[in-house]
């Protein structure tokens, strides 16, 4: 009885303390936290993370792509533009994150998955929402309160001869560093408001989440899908977003598909290669289905599709690889490496004639290729057909 009473008191305290942070006022543009505050400490930690981002070897330094994404971020951020710094990093998977101090990290895997400028605006707007609403500070505060109460409950439970661990767990509002559902909803709402104000079609946000949910499937634990794993209840979220989008008065229709794809085109093959390199074939194939639905099948996508099968090497994968290589070869701008991959598959099947032909086509198309000597060595060691 005494235990129940203590638990109830602790819960009341937790809710009261949680309530302290629930109504944090929005950050105003150009605002900085009071230097004596806990929030300033959080910003200091974020500044260190940002300094590491600036020096990160995985940073995408291309000035054109950075200028393009920053331009969109500035449009979406509106008066917050001077407060947001965008960092593009070479990181497969589906991830973007806003640090509490306004440093926005966007992974190459996310850029690859977006269809158009409006979807990028939706993601940036959502992350901006976390910044404006100070969700990181709120989260840190809740975690601190939760761990304090957990510690106290642990002490009390010890004193009361065991038990209490489960109750302490139940009182933990944030366990894994994720934002709460209400914070995600708030960020969605701000994101929609900002992207609409910037002139983008609000329907893009529904399209993005719909495609992401389809890609996610049931594999929420995958490293390639960290963003979705951190975002709860995608189904209800989609419904909520559809309702919110339908309520937007006089929605714009700007999607910026051509501009976005043109900006990403020089990097697309490298970003696709990063995904293939992770050797998560089931997830990568789902991603490729998404890209085919969004942009259609071009030679680069068909080539890397074949690469997924070639590298997986299951029973029928060689044939599937050859099927996609065949599609790539019929499309414009097929990668030069296509014939090398065909040669590797044919060689693994001991089809020496076809392997030789493919390797020779590769050498003819790229006589100065860095691996030309190696390919010649393969040709030399293959038995005569």
């Amino acid at each position: 009885m005494r235990w129940i009473s203590l638990t109830a008191s602790a819960m009341t305290l937790l809710l009261a303390l949680g309530g302290c942070s629930a109504g944090l006022p929005e950050l105003v543009p150009r605002a900085r936290p009071d230097i004596r505050s806990d929030e300033a400490g959080l910003w200091l930690v974020a500044a260190k993370s940002e300094a590491a981002l600036q020096q990160a070897p995985t940073a995408i330094s291309d000035p054109g792509l950075n200028r393009y994404v920053r331009g969109i971020a500035c449009k979406v951020a509106g008066p917050y533009c001077p407060d947001i710094r965008v960092y593009l990093v070479r990181e497969p998977g589906l991830d973007a994150r806003m640090l509490p101090n306004g440093a926005l990290q966007i992974g190459s895997g996310l850029l690859l998955r977006l269809r158009d400028e409006a979807q990028l605006a939706a993601v940036i707007g959502h992350e901006l929402g976390h910044y404006v609403e100070r969700h990181s500070f709120d989260k840190a505060w809740r975690q601190r309160v939760g761990s304090d109460i957990r510690a106290w409950l642990g002490v009390l439970a010890q004193g009361l001869a065991g038990g209490g661990g489960d109750a302490a767990d139940a009182l933990m509002p944030v366990r894994d560093g994720a934002f709460s559902s209400s914070q995600e909803i708030a960020a969605d709402s701000i994101g929609l408001r900002q992207m609409t104000a910037a002139g983008y079609a609000p329907a893009a946000v529904v399209d993005f989440w719909h495609a992401s949910v389809a890609e996610l499937g049931e594999r929420q634990s995958s490293i390639a899908l960290r963003l979705l794993a951190r975002h709860p209840a995608p189904g209800s979220r989609l419904d909520r977003l559809r309702t919110a989008v339908a309520a937007v008065a006089e929605p714009h229709a700007v999607r910026g598909y051509v501009r976005y794809q043109a900006a990403l085109a020089p990097f697309r093959a490298a970003f696709l290669a990063d995904e293939v390199r992770l050797r998560l074939p089931t997830e990568t194939l789902r991603l490729f289905e998404r890209l085919r639905r969004q942009q259609g099948l071009d030679a680069t996508l068909a080539f890397y599709w074949g690469e997924v099968y070639r590298l997986r090497g299951w029973k029928d994968d060689r044939q599937l690889a050859l099927k996609f290589y065949g599609e790539a070869s019929r499309l414009p701008n097929a990668p030069v490496a296509l014939d090398r991959s065909i040669g590797l598959v044919r060689r693994s099947e001991s089809d020496w004639l076809a392997a030789r032909a493919a390797f020779r086509r590769y050498l003819a198309a790229a006589p100065d290729a860095a691996d030309a000597a190696m390919i010649r060595a393969y040709l030399a060691e293959m038995p005569e057909a």
């Binding site: 990160a56 990063d274 390199r277 050797r279 590298l311 190696m374």
Partner: protein, 191 residues
């Protein structure tokens, strides 16, 4: 009870001693699987495999520079060991150098490294056998950038690889020639 504690303590001390670095003798050193190299006092041998390698040598410590030896890796065996919760990729006996370089890059990416790059494989002689060599680089999860190269050969006994890596800031250039010398001295005993 005291006897059990003493035994446990002794075992712990013994295991710690087992895992200590040992200086490499300036003599021909048998690495395993018939592979031997000419040792040098600049290297220190870590007796437990790292990243699934059969042996690991270093000059300033494995986090900074290392030579990893993979000996007689058979068909269907994983190259790296990622632990129980991570997948391991398997080496296949019919793999080409191009595919082994791809496998190496994937293993590094799966180990949590970023910006993994591999150079085009080149045909070279390794331990007197037709082999291959490729360069690679990556940034570890802390952002420290490494350069390295892999030299190896696929034989009837399995795949043999020697991989050197060192920090781009210092260790790669400082110890590259020692690693080249080591690799150049490799011999594989023919049964």
């Amino acid at each position: 009870m005291r006897r059990v504690l003493v035994l446990a303590l002794g075992l712990a001390v013994g295991l710690t001693a087992c895992a200590r670095f040992q200086p490499v003798q300036r003599d021909r050193v048998a690495v395993g699987g018939g592979l031997s190299v000419m040792g040098s006092a600049v290297w220190n041998r870590f007796p437990v495999g790292v990243l699934g390698a059969d042996a690991a040598w270093t000059q300033d410590g494995l986090p900074l520079d290392r030579v990893l030896f993979y000996v007689a890796h058979g068909d269907g065996t994983p190259l790296f060991e990622h632990g129980r919760d991570r997948r391991s990729l398997e080496y296949r006996a019919n793999m080409t150098a191009t595919e082994i370089a791809d496998l190496w890059a994937s293993e590094l990416a799966l180990a949590g490294n970023g910006d993994v790059r591999t150079g085009a494989p080149q045909p070279v002689r390794f331990a007197g056998l037709p082999g291959f060599r490729f360069d690679y680089s990556y940034a570890n999860p802390s952002g420290l950038v490494f350069d390295g190269f892999v030299v190896g050969a696929a034989t009837a006994k399995g795949l043999y690889l020697i991989a050197f890596a060192g920090t781009r800031a210092h260790h790669f250039l400082a110890y590259r020639s020692a690693a080249e010398h080591l690799i150049g001295s490799a011999e594989i005993a023919v049964e």
